[in-house]
């Protein structure tokens, strides 16, 4: 019974994504799933640990380029490419993490954005002989079909991305419920008390940083397989805000915020970019509006109401349960 309650939210969320796949075009569904995996790392950092990272595109690019290099120069198996993307993302996060997590939150944000810009220049200019500069790496025809789930086929790729997404969400839900998740929240709210309780602040933050950015690298590798090319465009400064916007749009620190935000953002982008040419104007004012109006975001506003709607009878029990968990 307890296990069922733990899983049902996840199952429901991904069942809705499957339903969405039936009604909406496939590229949209794929984009939403990858984008929400991309965003959950940023959401975790911002909502749980209190780090705002404008540099997520840097880690996305690390994962994407690691997979891209493998496809162009070494092999053709999409699964191995994704694994390589994750491993390289993990290593990079482990290298830069110790330097970055020591910093104050404002410096952290600035340094991360600077890293994103540096990787952009690195891929566009410095490593141009092997990355083809602005043109990027194209290897779509190189990818070899795989036996069970053929990732070169968009509709089967969607199933794979959905499974990966489900696993990612289960992992983050587990993290949120664990003592470690509570420690992260403690590091966000009051690090002195956390130190007093005997936890190592630095290690908690470093672990969170590595976990979040490895997830982002995974999203990068998925992009690399799905799109069939990698270009420096994915880490350009204008796209640096994307994950932050989606995080805030969906609801900071909520589990399903990234999915809701990704659907809303991708949908708006598709619909509005046909009507309005001026995408930046829209997203800029939307961001300011969300920040000033209510920072809870879409899911953060919806969640309590939905809970009230469905659990009117069990309200007292769940309130008691959630209070016990957060305490």
């Amino acid at each position: 019974m307890n296990a069922l309650r733990w899983w049902w939210g996840l199952v429901l969320a991904f069942a809705l994504l499957v339903v969405m796949r039936v009604f909406l075009p496939l590229p949209f569904a794929n984009e939403v799933v990858i984008f929400s995996i991309y965003t959950i790392g940023c959401n975790f950092l911002l909502g749980r640990v209190g780090f705002i990272s404008f540099g997520q595109p840097a880690y996305l690019a690390v994962g994407a380029y690691a997979a891209g290099f493998y496809f162009t120069y070494f092999g053709a198996n999409p699964y191995i490419g994704i694994v390589i993307g994750i491993v390289v993302g993990f290593i990079v996060a482990l290298i830069v993490g110790p330097f970055f997590v020591r910093l104050r939150s404002d410096y952290f944000a600035l340094v991360n954005l600077a890293l994103a810009v540096i990787i952009y220049f690195l891929m566009q200019k410095v490593l141009a002989p092997i990355t083809n500069g602005d043109n990027g790496l194209w290897y779509l025809t190189n990818l070899e079909p795989t036996p069970v789930l053929d990732l070169t086929h968009p509709s089967q790729f969607f199933i794979f991305a959905l499974l990966v997404g489900f696993a990612t969400w289960a992992f983050y839900k587990y993290l949120d419920d664990s003592i470690y998740g509570a420690c992260c929240l403690g590091a966000k709210i009051n690090e002195d008390k956390l130190t007093f309780l005997g936890y190592d602040n630095f290690r908690i933050r470093l672990t969170a940083f590595v976990i979040a950015n490895t997830t982002t690298a995974l999203a990068g590798a998925l992009y690399a397989v799905y799109l069939g090319f990698v270009s420096p465009e994915i880490t350009s400064p204008t796209r640096a805000v994307d994950p932050v916007v989606v995080t805030i749009l969906g609801g900071v620190g909520t589990l399903y915020g990234p999915i809701v935000g990704a659907i809303a953002y991708t949908g708006m982008k598709d619909v509005l970019s046909q009507i309005l040419v001026n995408w930046e104007l829209m997203i800029g004012f939307l961001l300011v509006f969300i920040m000033l109006a209510g920072e809870k975001g879409i899911w953060g506003t919806l969640e309590p109401r939905l809970k009230k709607l469905f659990f009117r009878k069990a309200a007292s029990e769940t309130a008691g349960g959630s209070k016990a968990r957060t305490a």
């Binding site: 410095v126 829209m282 920040m291 000033l292």
Partner: protein, 290 residues
């Protein structure tokens, strides 16, 4: 490997670049020092200054007049944004201001695209005279930029140390509550600081316009350098901003003499190095959000 005859012009180029950087980032630093907000929208006023200079210099043929208009527009835009947006977020967390001002910046880039289009526009250089300095010819315009940057630094120093408003701002950087207790309206100080910051950023954009082409992304392009400069110098320190601006300017200029891509990478390496030695930057204060 390196042509020594290029060195003097390289140094002058770096100094003028540093001057532009200083004017762009001093606003960011001032706003952080007094109000504890990270005002990324300074990059918008930078682009706005460039575009106003372009428009007015095309209309009247006089760049200096365009520069003045740009500074006024930048200051007014800064004031408007402060009144509408920042007034509501002073009490919030510092990262909050960063996200919001980034929204203002992106939205502003959209506005610029709407009015001026996507195409980069060239601005004619007002002074094409070159002077002979140690055997190489140096454009006078770059020397003027260096002089203006140093003049602005001197002006800010005088303003902060010799005028009553400046002293109030300096006191506010130390402790806002005490200044408020003296019966000074700190919100007026905040507005004044924002106007100064916006005007200076616009001045930087206007001065830089003839050297690069003005395009809607120019604010975003300079942003990475602005970040590195405030981090190296330490957020909130005017002196630190001046030192690190010229440092980064030299690194970019001389670095590109050795190996062109180095110009983009070397400032980042320096930033990481300085953060390792001193996590608050060269002149940064250890104090956190009030």
């Amino acid at each position: 490997m390196i042509d020594l005859s290029l060195l003097p012009s390289g140094i002058i180029f770096g100094l003028s670049l540093g001057g532009i950087f200083f004017l762009t980032t001093v606003g960011l630093s001032l706003c952080f020092g007094l109000m504890r907000v990270i005002s990324l929208d300074q990059m918008l006023y930078y682009a706005l200054g460039g575009y106003m200079t372009y428009t007015i210099s095309v209309l009247t043929g006089n760049l200096w007049f365009g520069l003045v208009v740009g500074v006024v527009v930048g200051a007014v835009a800064g004031l408007a944004v402060e009144r509408v947006v920042f007034l509501r977020i002073y009490a919030r967390d510092i990262t909050f201001s960063m996200i919001t001002s980034f929204g203002v910046l992106i939205g502003g880039v959209g506005v610029i695209k709407y009015f001026w289009g996507l195409v980069p526009r060239p601005v004619t250089e007002p002074i094409t005279v070159q002077v002979n300095l140690l055997g190489t010819y140096i454009p006078v315009y770059r020397l003027i930029i260096i002089a203006i940057a140093l003049g602005v630094y001197g002006g800010i120093w005088l303003f902060l140390n010799r005028t009553i408003v400046g002293k109030a701002i300096r006191a506010g950087i130390e402790n806002v509550e005490h200044v408020e207790g003296l019966g000074i309206n700190v919100y007026r100080l905040f507005s004044i600081t924002f106007m100064i910051a916006g005007g200076l950023s616009a001045l930087a954009g206007g001065l830089n316009a003839p050297l690069i082409m003005v395009d809607p992304q120019m604010g975003l392009e300079v942003m990475a350098f602005a970040f590195m400069i405030v981090i190296i110098g330490g957020l909130g320190s005017i002196k630190g901003t001046l030192v690190s601006s010229f440092l980064v300017g030299q690194v970019v200029s001389l670095g590109s003499l050795f190996y062109a891509p180095l110009a983009q990478m070397a400032p980042f390496a320096i930033m990481v190095l300085i953060l390792l030695l001193k996590p608050t930057g060269l002149y940064g204060s250890p104090l956190l959000k009030r």
